[in-house]
């Protein structure tokens, strides 16, 4: 039988091989300097960039919030004009939800997935690079509008008719709409990458019931995004057309519908908020066991609950619209679904408590952040439970109670896990440990500051304070609460600053970590810190959920997992493709070399949107042509990738 080189049976190595490591390093490392910076497809570099860029947006969003809290510290202030305030609260929401919360999880997942799965890279490395570059371009595009004074000003949810040309004449909303469509491309291609990686790139033996919960979380979020993002991209595109081309999708005076926007937006918006917490919950599910020295309680139930939460998350969007006059039948269905979704989403909480209860805590900073998620999750969750009941929501909606709810769920189930994940995985990314003493100060300042800042918002909400107001009158019963909130939020900001200082300081001169500083069980800790460009010298084989704990847990199949012995894949950049459920190897995958095509495509795509934004149709057309050319170049069949006819080798 004649086969090609990528259908060969690879050799298996059973011992350390320095020559092999050197060869792989030459094959996989990124070129140094500017060339490598723009052409790299290494998931680790892309992951770090995602994380750094996301944190930069977190800081920007935090500064916007600090300005708003300054304005709201007591009644009747004139620190900001209404227009400034409106652009700030819109940009704050847009930044935190779209430019920080999703991308930071993409970043961690990007870095960690191949390592957790025992793979050399993501399934589609160039697409991976593209998703980052488009994210960066979209973020700059959106912030350029804000920087020049025409940032979006109708809230991140952008309801019509206020977003229509008739009530929003300037280019603000056009930039928002086009920027979001561009960003949606990044999120969609990134999601596709995660799904394909999950299906094809797991190490031999890593059946789907052996993958870390972070994998389940990101997989679920990615599958959901593929369905949800088109809804919002469509909504923004229809809006852009209404505003610029003369259509009337949302124009009620000519037969359009204002409610159509809300449905399209929230059909995306609700799944999105689950997509930005489920991977973070996965981080907690994978991190807590390490710091209580026992496997996660209820792995299977937690994995299933992750998927169930996301699926149910597609059936609750109308709970953002309870006050819009929909008929009772509709309200009842979505209210019931919104209450019932608390069942799968609380499985994780019980699993975490059970794991800690039956384990033995090691009080690292990472543990403190992960454990605190439980309490913040529950506070955010119960305020969500309250809003799930329609008649109650008719009072709660659009008050500061909802602001309290969203910040407890977003900061509690995204920011705190991410900070914990940073303390946990920083040693793997950089080879150095973060400072534990500063970490304690970091944790308590963030935790105490956050609760002082945001818990009182429940009260001001119950006392009737509306959302999205640039000022408020005195005598409403809100004065003290707002002052306390402002002070608390500034303490929280100091906590975030301590975190950034710890990151910077530890990167420069933290103590060296070694391969597995935490004595953790998963595959990423089996390679060096930081990992070499090729991740693993030979492809690991996996026989349990906790490969590095097998000698002590005795829960593995057969001989157990192997990291130092496995398939040798060194005829170029190669990875092993395995079957979807049980991960038996079936083909050698040829992985692409570094390429400029992704960054160029990001620039040409952005050019299209810049042209549309400024009504420079010629520029948009040029962008389309350039994009087409780049795609053709990208997809041009390459021998190195096995896309051309190859001579057979002896079978």
């Amino acid at each position: 039988m004649t086969i090609t080189d990528y259908e060969r049976v690879p050799t298996v190595s059973t011992e350390q091989n320095a020559a092999l490591a050197q060869k792989l390093k030459r094959l996989w490392e990124t070129e140094p300097g500017i060339a490598g910076f723009f052409s790299t497809v290494d998931h680790k570099e892309i992951g770090i960039r995602y994380i750094i860029t996301a944190f930069a947006f977190l800081i920007a969003g935090g500064l916007e919030a600090a300005l708003m809290r300054w304005q709201l510290a007591w009644p009747g202030r004139h620190a900001l004009t209404p227009e400034q305030y409106d652009q700030l609260f819109t940009t704050h929401g847009m930044t935190m939800i779209f430019l920080y919360a999703g991308p930071v999880l993409s970043g961690f997942s990007n870095y960690l997935w191949p390592l957790l799965l025992g793979a050399r890279d993501m399934a589609l490395p160039r697409l991976n690079a593209l998703s980052y570059w488009i994210y960066l371009c979209a973020g700059i595009f959106l912030y350029a509008a804000f920087a020049f004074g025409f940032g979006p000003n109708d809230g991140w949810f952008n309801y019509v008719p206020l977003a229509a040309r008739a009530y929003n004449a300037g280019p603000n909303i056009d930039f928002y709409a086009l920027g979001m469509i561009l960003l949606g491309i990044s999120t969609t291609v990134g999601s596709i990458n995660f799904v394909v990686t999950f299906l094809r790139m797991r190490a031999p033996g890593m059946s789907i019931n052996r993958v870390p919960i972070l994998i389940w979380g990101t997989l679920t979020a990615s599958a959901a995004n593929i369905f949800a993002i088109p809804a919002v991209s469509l909504a923004f595109f229809l809006l852009w057309m209404d505003r610029n081309v003369g259509t009337h999708f949302f124009d009620v005076t000519t037969g359009g519908s204002a409610m159509l926007w809300q449905h399209l937006f929230w059909m995306f918006g609700h799944p999105w908020v689950y997509a930005i917490v489920l991977p973070a919950m996965g981080m907690v599910s994978d991190g807590l066991p390490v710091f209580v020295r026992r496997p996660l309680v209820g792995y299977t139930v937690v994995a299933l609950a992750t998927v169930a939460t996301m699926v149910l998350g597609f059936g609750v969007w109308v709970h953002h619209m309870f006050a819009t006059g929909l008929p009772n039948v509709s309200l009842s269905f979505f209210s019931a679904a919104s209450l019932i979704i608390a069942v799968p989403s609380s499985v994780g909480v019980f699993a975490w408590i059970a794991t800690i209860w039956t384990g033995r805590p090691v009080f690292t900073t990472a543990f403190m952040f992960f454990a605190s998620v439980i309490v913040l999750f529950v506070i955010g969750g119960v305020s969500g439970f309250m809003t799930g009941s329609v008649p109650v929501d008719w009072q709660l909606t659009d008050t500061y109670f909802i602001v309290a709810h969203i910040h407890y769920v977003l900061i509690g189930i995204n920011v705190f896990p991410v900070v914990g994940a940073t303390y946990f995985w920083f040693p793997k990314f950089t080879g150095r440990l973060m400072d534990e003493r500063l970490g304690r100060w970091n944790f308590w300042t963030m935790f105490i500051g956050f609760n002082i800042g945001f818990f009182p918002m429940h009260i001001s909400g119950l006392l009737g304070m509306p959302r999205r107001v640039y000022t408020y009158a005195d005598g409403m019963g809100w004065d003290w609460i707002n002052l306390i909130t402002t002070i608390g939020s500034y303490i929280f900001a100091i906590g975030v600053l301590l975190f950034l200082i710890n990151v910077w300081k530890s990167y420069r001169k933290g103590p060296l970590a070694g391969d597995n500083p935490w004595d953790a069980p998963s595959l990423e800790w089996a390679t060096t810190s930081p990992p070499p460009p090729y991740n693993f010298v030979v492809i690991p084989t996996v026989a349990s959920r906790h490969p590095l704990w097998e000698d002590r847990l005795q829960q593995h199949e057969g001989e157990g997992s192997h990291v130092d012995a496995g398939l040798v894949l060194d005829h170029g950049r190669e990875a092993i493709g395995t079957s979807s459920l049980d991960a038996t190897p079936d083909i050698i995958l040829r992985m692409p070399r570094d390429s400029y095509a992704p960054v160029i495509l990001a620039l040409t795509a952005t050019t299209i949107f810049v042209g549309l934004a400024f009504h420079l149709w010629w520029l948009a057309g040029l962008g389309v042509l350039a994009t087409g050319a780049d795609i053709i170049g990208w997809l041009w069949p390459e021998r190195a990738l096995g896309e051309t006819r190859e001579p057979a080798i002896n079978g």
Partner: protein, 377 residues
Amino acid sequence: MPDGSKLPVAHYFPIAAGSPQVLQVGERVKRSSQNRSGLKVLLRALLCLFLCPIPRAFAAAPLNYMTGAGDKADAVLPLTWGVTIISIAVIVIISLLLAGAIWRRPGMAPQPAGSKIAIDERTDGLRWIWIGVGLSSLVLLFTVVWTMVVLAKVSSPSTKPALTVEITGHQWWWQVRYLNNDPSQVFSTANEIHIPAGQPVLFKLIGADVIHSFWIPALGGKTDAIPGQTNETWLEAHTPGIYHGQCTEYCGLQHAKMGMLLVAQSPQDFAAWRAHQLQSPARPSNGGQWAGLANFTTHCGSCHAVRGTDAAGSLGPDLSHLMQRQTIAAGSLPNDPQDLDRWIADPQGVKPGALMPKPELSADERASIISYLKTLN
């Protein structure tokens, strides 16, 4: 009042006007529905005994909704308090469990990097999830059922509303139109809604430009006013009083200052008020007032209307009986001469972005207009 004198405030509003209050839990004068059961009385008494200090604190905030003053609010309040108490209980229980989990055994300090730390081989703990999920499911199911019951209950009032008021949300004020089968009985006012106490009132909600939301917290939940559709809601106030409202859907620059007042009156007082609203205000009685009317019509009449005059604009609030209102500028300012002057002199200073342009008036013209406005009782 029909003779032009101002309503003696204390007469109509037993709660001192100017200090906005809502009624405390337990204070009732009369109820429109008679379907209270003994159990409800007992529950209310118990609730009040243990929680009354909290409602009193809440009651001091004009837009609070943890105390109610009408049938619709009352029907929802037990559910609101119920889910609040469940939520607090859940937080306390989980926090205690977490604290117990963390501190029940001596933990370990962070260990040197790379050192092997003992691992627990246990595989138990699943019971936690089943118990937790089981209990949560029961509570959630109970809440679902309770929600459906309350939702059905508040969908329509116990008696058919005799009065229908059409509320149109504009950027950034509320048009209030009293509907009637007889067109001559229809009239408009703005930002201050009067209703008879003790009976349900139907509200039709229209969005004139963008989406607004109509909310009088003490009396019931909010309903959006969405362009392209007419939403309906109903409210009922047990007793006469002033109830504060606020727009609660972001609608642009002055969303923050789009409040309103709902004034519930005894049926006789409401009838008198309505009759008065249908009348034109008294004609000017001296030259100064005539000049004021002329100035008003010239400078203000293209946007504002006053019944019985040539000022017939519909872009801004109807000002026919302006002096009967407690506030101006959609609740942003009290209705007194200095604030009226401040508002007219520079609306943008009070509500930057308001669609009322700064009028080009000399100080004399403004004073003349205000002297006329002061006659609009």
